[in-house]
Structure formats: structure tokens, C-alpha cells
Amino acid sequence: MLSFDIVAQILWTSFATSSYFVLFALAFALVLKVNRAFNFAQAAMMTVAFYAAYTCVALWGLPGWVGFAAALAASIILAIVIEVFGFRTLRRRRADQIFVFIFTLIVSEVVAFLAMLVFGTWPSTIFPSLFWPVTLVGNVAVSQWDIPAVGVAVSSVVVLFGFLRFTRTGQFMVAVADNPDLAELYGIAKQRIYLATMLTAAVLVALGMFLYGTRAQVQPTTAIDLMLFAIAATIIGGIGNLWGAALTAVVLGVVQNSSVLFIPSEWQGFLLYLFLFVAIVFLPNGVKLPARRRLTRKTVAPDLVGAGSQES
């Protein structure tokens, strides 16, 4: 029997756990928007971030913040390697898009196999326990993980927005995303911007994977599965629309987790692929929201034609 409390609990937990999906979707959407690459190698960045944090915290007993720093460093280093030695080389050779995708897929698989060799295939978590102390708010259980996770996701979205809007590098990223060749003519170093984009994605990935690893179990191939979520959110949200991707990640996360109310749990994974397929068929350009009305002063253009004829 579904009660309001049960529904509220599932909705809150779904909303909180969609925080890492938002970060993964933002990272993927950002690289796709600026670098114009389906960066499946993000799964590799996610894997190294998790296992760096896992090694520091679970294996070496270091504090959590050291684990996060290690995750960040590992993700950034791999992002640099992928961009400098991979994408840049393929761009220089004007490689077909299929080769770029094959490269990103293979990198994610190489890292997954390396992780299997080093860490095995057993599910792992960063902290020994997945259970966090719980506080009752009304009749909804809010764990000590939920609020910080939502806070991290919201802060990341706000910081990213500010970065893209108000910083020089962020504005250059937007320019390169719109027209890379024109941006280069204006003196913007494209290659540096591509690298900056990958670094930004690496930070988002490290945050997301640290959150995920403190909430759920991770195996070497988990990141590859999580990537599908990011891809689905990016497509449904509209390719090139970062905020659409973030919002869609929240909606998809809530819908997928809430689906346990209606369908057997073993079919929850299937839902994501169904959404992806439906999105491709019916919403290839994403969900179109009504155009925002811009609050601008109305001005009347001078009648140049009329003025010219009067003078003559």
C-alpha cells in the first residue's frame, strides 16, 4: 500500500542520489559542447578517480579529504593524458569521428581491465560502511550523506555557471563551442581551451565519483554503465545544453529510482536504455522548453531609408 510517507521517502532519496548523475552528465555534456567529442573516456576518468580515493581511504586508512584529493589528482592527470596524447593527436591527423570514439571507448576499457587486474572484480566502497546516520524530517529519513551530496551538486552547477559566464577561460570555452575556427581567428588558443574543458570535466568527475563511491559499491566496469546515464541525460536534455543535461539527470534519476514502486527491481536498469531509445526516436534534439522572454527595452530603429530620400 503506497502511503504519502513512502512516496516522499523514495522521491527524496532519488533526488539526493541523482546528485552524482548531475555531475557526470555535466562533465560529458561540457566536453561534447566544447570539444565536440563523445568522451566515452570519461568512464576511465571516473574509474581512476574512484580507485585513487579507495586506495587512500580504504586500503591506506587516510582521511576522506586525502582520498578526495587523490581522486581529483588522478582524474586530472588522466584527463591531461587523454587530451594531449589522444585527442590532440587524432585532431592533428584529422581522424574520422569513428576513430575518436573507438579511442575513447578503448581507453575506458583499458582502465577497466587494469583496475580488474590490480583491484579485482569485487564491489568496493571508499568508506567501510555505506550506511550514514539518519535524521527524521517529518516522516522522511534524511541521511547525513544526502544534504552534502545535494549541496555539492548544486554548488558545482552554480560555480560552473559562474565560471562559464564570468571568467575569461569560461567565456573562451563558450566561444570555441560556438565556432572554434572563428574563436581562433580572434586569438583564442583552441588547444588550451580543449585542455581546460577536459580539466573542468575531470573536476566534476572526481566530485561525482567520490560521492558515488561513498554511497554505492563500485566495480571496475561500473563507470562504463554510469556513462550511459550521462549520455541519455545529455541527449534528452539537448546536445549543447549543459543545464538541460543537469536537469534531465535529476529527472531521470528520480524516475529510475522511483520506478521500483511500479516495476520489479531487476528491470530498473532496462528503463534507462528505454529512455535513451525513446529519446533518439522521438526527441533527437532534446526536450524543447518554451523560449525565455528577454526583458529588454524596446527601441525603435531609425527610418534610414526615409531619412535618405528626404535628404535627396
Binding site: 563523445f38 579511442f103 571507448l105 581491465f113 532496462f270 536504455y273 533518439i280 533527437p284
Partner: protein, 297 residues
């Protein structure tokens, strides 16, 4: 000897898979990595129809091939109408989604796999006959892809691949050609899947996951994309190498990842050091001696 026959048959089936995948990504220029799922559809469809519905095996194999063909059109048509990039995403989603169905549905045997599949040939027929059939099928598949690539359809595919806008401006339907190429390659994969099911008599969802995609991709990239014999060389080499590793008697926890690293590492090396692969694609339509003599006169 049974082991050697199994390896030879696997090599033959992978030659069909690699050649048909080369048709899609090499000659067709389509971005897709979900080839193994059509292999899976052919295998499961043929197995279910023959075991549970009493279809004669040749009819079940044909039905499996046709179901793979129809499924590929269902995937390709909506995504290619938008753009080629969407085919990649749709195919990955289709592959992983269908694997979830195979894992959870009772009529596919679930995660444990589908067993007791009727054998293609009766126990009294020597194994060498099946090996010979698969070798002939593999050779025919490679030659079929070569004939397509070197014929009028292949010239049209090359034009579409090189400049789709110009191709469409000449009045040709690029979407129809892409869907047709994808469907043909996927049908060949389905046919190979049906063979696999009736020889090994067991299919399971994990046999057709993303790892298999990278195996087939490796064979084409390392062997030589857009060449006739490149995928054949790739299939032989990349089926023989893992077998060599099994003789090292490593524990399974190490063997699996090591094989995976071998495949993926080879792709990375070849992509950057020798992108044309082991067998580079020659000039497809080199002038024949008769043609060049005529031109000189």
C-alpha cells in the same frame, strides 16, 4: 581435437563478424559498435525457435538472420534520419537494453543462459563436416563483402562516406543506403550467431556485451579497416593469441583481464602507430590492364 575444432569454428564465426562489421564501419563509414547484439539476436532467435517451437534448424537459422535484419532496421532507421552520431548511441543503448532483457526474461533462460539448443548436425556426422561448413561460410562472407565493396554499390557507399552532401545532391538517398548497409552487415552477424548457437548449444547474455564489441572492433582495426582480408587476418590473429595465453595456466581472475588488456592495448597501439592496420586498404578500383590499354590508345 575437439578443442581445435572449437577454435577453428570460433575463428570462422569471428571472420564473418569482422567482415560484416568492416562493411558497416569501414566501407559504410557508419559509427556503431553494437555488432555483437545482432550476433546475439540471431543466436537466441534460432535457439528459441528450434528448441521451444520445433522449427527445423535451417529454418530457425534463417528466421534468426531475418529477425536480426529487422532489428537492425528498427535501430538504424530512426537514428540515421537524425545523424550518424545518433546511430552510435542508439546501438549502444539497444545492445545494453537487450542484454538486460536476455538477463531477466524467463523465455531466454535468464542470466544463466539458454541451454539444450538442438545441434545443427546429428551426433553421427563427423565434426569435420561442421568445421568445413563454417570455413566455407566464412570465406563466402569475406568474398561477399569484397564483391559488394568493389561493385557499384560499393562505389556509391564510398561516395556517400566521402561526401554525403554531394551524394544527396546527386539525388541519391543517403539514409536508405546507410540503413541498407547496416542491415546487411547485421544480418550476416545474425547468421553467424545462429551457427554459434547450434554448434556450442549454449548462449548466455555476457557473451554479447561491450567486451565483445571491443573484440570485433579490434579485429577490424588491427586487421585493417576497409580492406578485404584485414578483418580475416585480425580474426585469426586475435582468436589465436588468447588461446596461446590460456596455455600459461594463469588463474581466471588474471586471465580474463589480461586477454582484455591484450585486445584493447593492440587497438591503441595500431591506432597511433599503424592506423591502416596489418593489411592496408589498397586502391579499390585500380584500373584494369584492359582499361588502361584502352585509355592509352
Amino acid at each position: 581435437m575437439e578443442y581445435v575444432y572449437a577454435v577453428v569454428i570460433l575463428i570462422g564465426l569471428y571472420i564473418v563478424l569482422a567482415a560484416s562489421f568492416n562493411l558497416i564501419i569501414g566501407y559504410g563509414g557508419l559509427i556503431s559498435i553494437a555488432h555483437p547484439i545482432f550476433y546475439a539476436i540471431g543466436a537466441y532467435a534460432s535457439a528459441i525457435l528450434s528448441r521451444d517451437y520445433g522449427f527445423p534448424i535451417p529454418l530457425a537459422m534463417l528466421a534468426g538472420t531475418l529477425i536480426a535484419l529487422v532489428a537492425s532496421i528498427m535501430v538504424a532507421l530512426p537514428s540515421l534520419r537524425v545523424s550518424g552520431d545518433y546511430l552510435l548511441i542508439a546501438s549502444i543503448g539497444f545492445q545494453l537494453g537487450l542484454i538486460e532483457v536476455f538477463k531477466n526474461a524467463s523465455w531466454t533462460g535468464g542470466a544463466g543462459g539458454f541451454t539444450n539448443i538442438p545441434a545443427a548436425l546429428s551426433a553421427s556426422v563427423p565434426r569435420e563436416v561442421y568445421v568445413a561448413i563454417v570455413v566455407v561460410v566464412a570465406a563466402l562472407a569475406a568474398l561477399l563483402v569484397r564483391a559488394i565493396a568493389h561493385g557499384p554499390y560499393g562505389r556509391a557507399m564510398a561516395a556517400m562516406r566521402d561526401d554525403e552532401v554531394a551524394f544527396s545532391a546527386l539525388g541519391r538517398n543517403a539514409v536508405a543506403m546507410k540503413v541498407g548497409t547496416f542491415a546487411l552487415g547485421s544480418a550476416l552477424a545474425g547468421f553467424a550467431g545462429a551457427f554459434y548457437a547450434h554448434y556450442f548449444r549454449f548462449v548466455a547474455p555476457e557473451q554479447f556485451d561491450i567486451l565483445q564489441s571491443s573484440v570485433v572492433l579490434t579485429m577490424v582495426v588491427v586487421g585493417g579497416i576497409r580492406s578485404t582480408w584485414g578483418p580475416v587476418v585480425g580474426a585469426v590473429l586475435l582468436q589465436a593469441l588468447p588461446q596461446a595465453i590460456t596455455f600459461l595456466n594463469l588463474p581466471p581472475a588474471v586471465l580474463g583481464p589480461l586477454q582484455g588488456l591484450l585486445f584493447t592495448g593492440l587497438v591503441l597501439v595500431f591506432m597511433f602507430v599503424r592506423p591502416q592496420g596489418l593489411v592496408s586498404a589498397g586502391e579499390v578500383w585500380s584500373a584494369t590492364r584492359k582499361g588502361s590499354e584502352h585509355a592509352r590508345s
